[in-house]
């Protein structure tokens, strides 16, 4: 049942409330620092644990990855595609290592599953592109993040 309740005149005019709100606005405008930053010039400091763009770790020029397929197995987005091969200095290595970055959800499970500390997530978060990109092994090896 609807009841028509009469509010007092003072609050019906909203004058006090408007003044209170303006006070808060003025306080923020005059006495607090800016929240926004000038993005491309200024950068925020993110945690080192930020999960950004992947990279493949290499030691002495040899990739750590042995193409064990644990990352594509654990990947919930199914964005990692590996083809394994053999070469004289390494019994098993990835001939093809592709990350379909648009499918990636940056959960970091690949990093967690990796037994060889090969696939890592860097703190790079700027990945916008004008077309769909699939990062290949060469790119992921060069891209070492900002660590």
């Amino acid at each position: 049942m609807l009841v028509d309740r009469k509010a007092p005149v003072t609050s019906r005019l909203y004058v006090v409330e408007i003044l209170k709100g303006l006070l808060i606005t003025m306080k923020n405008m005059l006495f607090s620092r800016n929240v926004t930053i000038q993005y491309p010039e200024e950068r925020r400091n993110y945690s080192d644990r930020l999960r950004g763009l992947h990279y493949i770790k290499a030691v002495n020029g040899v990739e750590n990855c042995t193409a064990c397929m644990l990352c594509p197995t654990v990947c919930p987005a199914e964005c990692i595609h590996i083809e394994a091969g053999e070469r004289p200095d390494k019994e098993k290595f990835p001939i093809k290592f592709e990350i379909d970055i648009l499918r990636c959800c940056f959960c970091g499970m690949c990093e967690e599953a990796c037994p060889k500390d090969a696939i890592k997530l860097s703190t790079i978060y700027e990945m916008s592109q004008s077309k769909r990109v699939v990062y290949d092994k060469e790119m992921l090896l060069v891209q070492r993040g900002n660590r």
Binding site: T66, A67, C68, M69, T73
Partner: protein, 472 residues
């Protein structure tokens, strides 16, 4: 049946059965390495240790026969401790290769280590390593991973009938190898990889292609010969990656031959015809409607004979029989398959293990349907319609007009006026009859590639192409 007690459960067993098998009946798994139901018992891995009440020492379940009233414990403290020690000893020299090992995921050592081993290792000395010699085209050996269960030696000795694998040296230096490092000779070499409980012997064919857990599995029947071995196709994304044997005590036991194992390769052969072909048309891809019309035209007004590969399924053959009655009344049907094998009486064992002389799967089913073997075309015949599923060897037919339906390779395409591609054994369901008269079911694993259609669809298009405007 006599009964014994395993882990407090009453278990019935066949007289003479060992404790591993008896426990299996009750759903209790006793971990094993050297024991294999198809091979002799050596009891040398000591992993299947169980406690038998009344006997002070721990017994090996594989070499202990179940007896009436026996009380067995498979999970008692001393047993667990013994297994953990066995695992620790086995893992002393086992490399931490799992990420690159093809066996991981289906590895007994992995499973048993996880289930019965300890997570810690006390061994700090250098591990024993070997230099591996090549073992021929089928098997890749990695001796470092070996746990000396000697399953492979016993397989060669008892099943393949060739003593090619031996244990050289003694004690810590024991090395499983072929005599003089020669390549493997047996036609059953793939089974070495199947029975190896570790990644010591793996298939070269499957090497690094997929991890064991990434493939989907379809239980089907081998079409390599009239034995009809039970197999499992492992596939992923419409590609078959390997064939493994499936246990069937009355047909193939635990084994398959290499011919059957690698028979799947032709499914993805680059030369396989996967879209309809019309000779002399000039067009690269005529498409199905035009190809069916061309096939009809090629046989128009001819005296037609139908040749059925004896690798077709019963269902397909029956359908073709009906089709022949409707469209080629009075035409003679005959089956072809292996040169020199005209009827079931020509079929026989090709070796003492599994292989049969007839290299097609359904020779006996064809006979059952009353289709006679192909000898030669009758003189009046001017056109033939050939059905084939992939393995039947094409006979000679001279210069008569031929239309092919089924699985063909590019070099064969030149012999046909029109070719309508169809499905292989992995791409269709159906029934085949093996040499002993056992009907078995082919199960579809992957979709047919390209434009391939099932034979039933093709016959339907053939039947309808006459009806729908102007084609006939």
């Amino acid at each position: 049946m006599p009964t014994c007690t395993i882990d407090g459960r009453q278990v019935e067993f066949k007289p003479g059965e060992n404790l591993v098998e008896a426990a299996k009946r009750a759903g209790i798994e006793v971990p094993v390495f050297c024991y294999h139901p198809g091979l002799s018992v050596v009891a040398q891995c000591r992993m299947c240790a169980v406690e038998v009440q009344g006997i002070k020492k721990i017994q090996t379940a594989c070499s202990t026969k179940a007896a009436e009233g026996m009380v067995v414990l498979t999970q008692s403290e001393p047993v667990k401790k013994a297994r953990e020690s066995v695992m620790e000893f086995l893992l002393i020299n086992h490399p931490l290769d799992c990420p690159i090992c093809d066996q991981s995921g289906e590895c007994d050592l992995q499973d048993n280590s996880f289930g019965h081993g300890s997570a810690h290792m006390r061994y700090t000395e250098e591990r024993r390593t070997y230099v591996d010699l090549d073992m021929g085209p089928v098997i890749k050996k990695n001796m470092n991973r070996c746990i000396h269960c000697t399953r492979c030696i016993r397989f060669g000795d008892e099943i393949a009938g060739i003593r090619e694998m031996v244990a050289m040296q003694r004690g810590n230096n024991t090395e499983i190898t072929t005599l003089d490092g020669r390549p493997l000779e047996t036609d059953y070499a793939g089974n070495y990889a199947d029975i190896c409980p570790t990644g010591s012997l793996t298939l070269k064919d499957f090497r690094f292609k997929k991890r064991a857990w990434m493939v989907k599995k379809t239980a089907t029947v081998c079409e390599g010969c009239s034995r009809g071995c039970n197999i499992e196709l492992h596939w992923d994304h419409a590609t078959v990656f390997r064939t493994l044997p499936r246990e069937n005590a009355s047909i193939n036991r635990y084994w398959i031959c290499d011919e059957g194992r690698f028979n799947y390769r032709y499914i993805h052969d680059e030369q396989r015809v996967i879209s309809p072909v019309v000779a002399k048309s000039g067009a690269a891809a005529p498409g199905w409607p035009a190809a069916v019309v061309a096939a009809r035209e090629a046989l128009r007004g001819k005296r037609v004979e139908l040749l059925l590969g004896s690798d077709l399924t019963l269902e397909e053959a029956q359908l073709i029989q009906k089709f022949a009655g409707d469209f080629f009344p009075g035409a003679r049907l005959s089956h072809f398959g292996t040169p020199g094998i005209k009827s079931t009486s020509d079929d026989g064992d090709a070796d003492k293990i599994l292989k049969r002389k007839s290299k097609t799967s359904n020779l006996h089913g064809m006979e059952k349907l009353g289709v006679p073997g192909f000898g030669a075309l009758s003189k009046e015949t001017t056109g033939i319609l050939v059905f084939r599923a992939g393995r039947a060897e094409l006979p000679e037919w001279g210069g008569v007009a031929a239309v092919g339906v089924g699985v063909f390779m590019e070099p064969q395409a030149a012999r046909f006026a029109a070719l309508l591609p169809s499905a292989t054994f992995a791409e269709k369901d159906g029934t085949i009859v093996n040499f002993a008269g056992v009907s078995q079911r082919l199960v579809r694993a992957v979709p047919p590639p390209g434009d391939c259609k099932q034979i039933s669809e093709i016959l339907m298009m053939w039947a309808n192409s006459g009806r729908a405007g102007g084609a006939s």
